[in-house]
Symmetry: C2
Subunit: 161 residues, 2 copies
């Protein structure tokens, strides 16, 4: 199935949603930029905020990214004062990445904004449509999951054993 996210901007309602979401994201990234943050680095902060101090190895797994990449992201976040590297108490090879005061403050604001956004998006929607929206989205999620399983279930139909 050939498909790109950015391409989804040309049909029906989901496409309109994605188009608006992209505008919204651009605004948000601009705001993050003022704080010296990028999307990738913010994602690291978010993971730390919700999971607590973490080794870089664990971060690499959660972010689905190489350890080398994490080194760079943490370097940037350390230079801008959002995180701190500390020795791991039990394993002298490993490093514990921890949010600084500054990092914690920003993430608390982001979590609050995130929750407020979810409320705000749903405000004024009557219960019937809200139920339909929920069930419809879950339906779409299940269909997508099925498509993913289907695609991955056929292992390399290109001939490579």
């Amino acid at each position: 199935m050939l498909f790109t996210m950015s391409v989804l901007q040309n049909t029906v309602i989901l496409d309109r949603l994605l188009a608006v979401a992209q505008l919204f994201t651009e605004d948000s990234e601009r705001e993050l930029g003022k704080l010296g943050l990028t999307t990738a680095r913010t994602h690291v902060l978010w993971v730390l905020h919700h999971g607590g101090p973490s080794t870089q190895r664990a971060l690499a797994d959660v972010l689905a990214v190489t350890p080398r990449n994490v080194t760079g992201l943490v370097d940037g976040l350390e230079a801008t004062g959002y995180v701190r590297r500390a020795p791991h108490p039990d394993d002298r090879r490993a490093v514990l990445v921890t949010l600084t005061e500054r990092g914690t403050v920003v993430m608390e604001k982001m979590a609050a904004d995130h929750a407020a956004l979810a409320d705000s998006l749903m405000a004024g929607l009557d219960d019937t449509d809200r139920g339909g929206l929920d069930r419809g989205l879950i339906h779409v999620i299940h269909r997508l999951e099925a498509l993913i399983v289907e695609a991955r279930g056929t292992p390399e139909q290109d001939g490579a054993a």
Copy 2:
């Protein structure tokens, strides 16, 4: 409003949807990679497929990206045989970027897949929930648009005149 797309993976249903959509996108990007395509380059092809031959300047505007960036994307697509640069008939400064046969074939497949995906995602959803989903999404779109207008309406509240 502090916010990142990748962060939206931790609340309610929209977050689940985005998480699944990301998995789906990863699969699709892998498939694009087999064709020597990336997301950014595919987006160029998509615009050309739907808008016809275009100058690089126009592409830069549509993609919301710098002209320099377009140069690089078109270089890549030209090297892999998806597009062709041709002189502009009326303006000797400009270049017309055109899909090659290969580019057209790929985009036709993508458009077909895209339409089939939209159908597939909705299949089996009863009319009531489908109506609720539609109205709910439009509601969310309008709320997002309102938030964007609101944020942009206040011009630089940081003090810069």
